[in-house]
Amino acid sequence: MRGNAEAHELVAPGSLDAALALLADEPGQWTPIAGGTELMVAHAAGRLNAKRLLSLWGIAALRFIETSPDSMAIGACTTFHDLRASKAVAADFPLLAKAAGWIGSIANQSRATLGGNLVNGSPAADSSPALLVYDAEIELASVHGKRRVPYAEFHTGYKRTVLEKDELVYAIHLPRRFAQHRQYLRKVGTRRAMAISKVALAANALIEDGSVREIRLAAASLAAFPARLYRAEDAVCGGPVSPEVIRAARRALLAEVVPIDDIRSTADYRTCVAANLLEEFLVSLKTEGPQQ
């Protein structure tokens, strides 16, 4: 432990309203902390810059999974354990359930939250590709009220988001319209447990009469933040999947990603593997039956 616990303030307002009031009173002064699986790592290493922290842990109004006929709402402080344990998530959003199961370890999943995963803004965030292909919307709250933004517009740069200084992520909304879609999620990392992804790709597609009517592709660790792969989608959408389409999709993907060399992998490896994952998904579309 190289950090100094006495150098940091931590308060637990206990309710969403009290937390929002504190953020409004002193904008930019308080850093929210939920399960602490990111910030406490920085704290232990002595590199936690935030001096005043606002605990969201234990605020029941931020931890829920609610299903309506058209959508599911997931509270920002819902843990990955909660997501794994939810039959509704497994039934409607299997890619999110799958991602929740490979985040860190059991001990991480019992503390790490879905909202925290998004606000932290890692390019490698495990839940992000699934949320992107499910057309997630992020609901933000402040003392002035709530607003929604498409998740595809939430990240604005490396570790940057549209969150204002007096806002918290309140909930993640997912439309329940993917039951007929083929769905795919694969993460490539050093080992199955604990590893941060070198590349992850999520995809879904709606096939009608042998043609791709809808397709969504999203990747982690291929750019400064998790993002949809619109050009690759355009290369596939509207017709049958043929070897020519697969080649065109690979070329489109290579043209739109900007991977980096870092301690976990190289740009070349990431690019090649991402294209291979895309091909794996597209090849699977030519077969009948549900795909996972």
């Binding site: 006495e6 150098a7 370890s105 604990m194």
Partner: protein, 168 residues
């Protein structure tokens, strides 16, 4: 800047305990330094190795990643709370019998992760054991004897562990 300290009350291994500490002090450090429960170890200090694993309100957590203020009112079980009335817990007996401990640094965390697994799943498969313990690293055993220990404990006993994080 002077930061206010917090009065924390929680239940640790069945006993109500009170400490007065900085709110950002890690639960691991409070357990070891303030409560002198040194069974929980610090390995990596970043939630990767699991040697600080404890059970909090019936869930497994890395105590190095929990600011103690977030443990206010919690029921916590550490490795010191596994044995009961001088009798080793069946998992501890199985680790002894199967050679599941060598240098011992990872052992408290392995035991707590295993206790968590068996509380939810008294008859785990080997695959489930491997997943349940995937966040706990061991540099000595090669893991097989640890997994065998958990299998052995699960096969031999009906373990009412779900109640053990709560006050007796």
């Amino acid at each position: 800047m002077s930061i206010g300290w917090s009065a924390i009350e929680f239940v640790v291994n069945g006993e109500t305990r009170n400490v007065h500490v900085p709110p950002m002090k890690r639960l691991l450090d409070v357990l070891r330094e303030d409560l002198h429960l040194t069974g929980s170890k610090e390995g990596c200090g970043e939630g990767e190795c699991g040697s600080c694993s404890v059970r909090m309100n019936g869930e497994l957590v890395n105590s190095c990643l929990v600011p103690v203020l977030q443990a206010q009112g919690a029921c916590i079980q550490t490795v010191e709370g596994l044995a009961c009335d001088g009798e080793l817990h069946p998992l501890q007996q199985a680790f002894l019998h199967c050679g599941g401990a060598q240098c011992g640094i990872c052992t408290p965390g392995m035991l707590m992760a295993a206790a968590q697994l068996l509380a939810n799943n008294p008859r785990p498969t080997m695959a489930e054991i491997r997943e349940g313990l995937a966040g706990n690293l061991c540099r000595c055993t090669g893991f097989k004897r640890i997994f065998d220990s958990v299998l052995s404990a699960a096969a031999q006993t009906e373990i009412p562990m779900a109640s053990e994080t709560h006050a007796r």
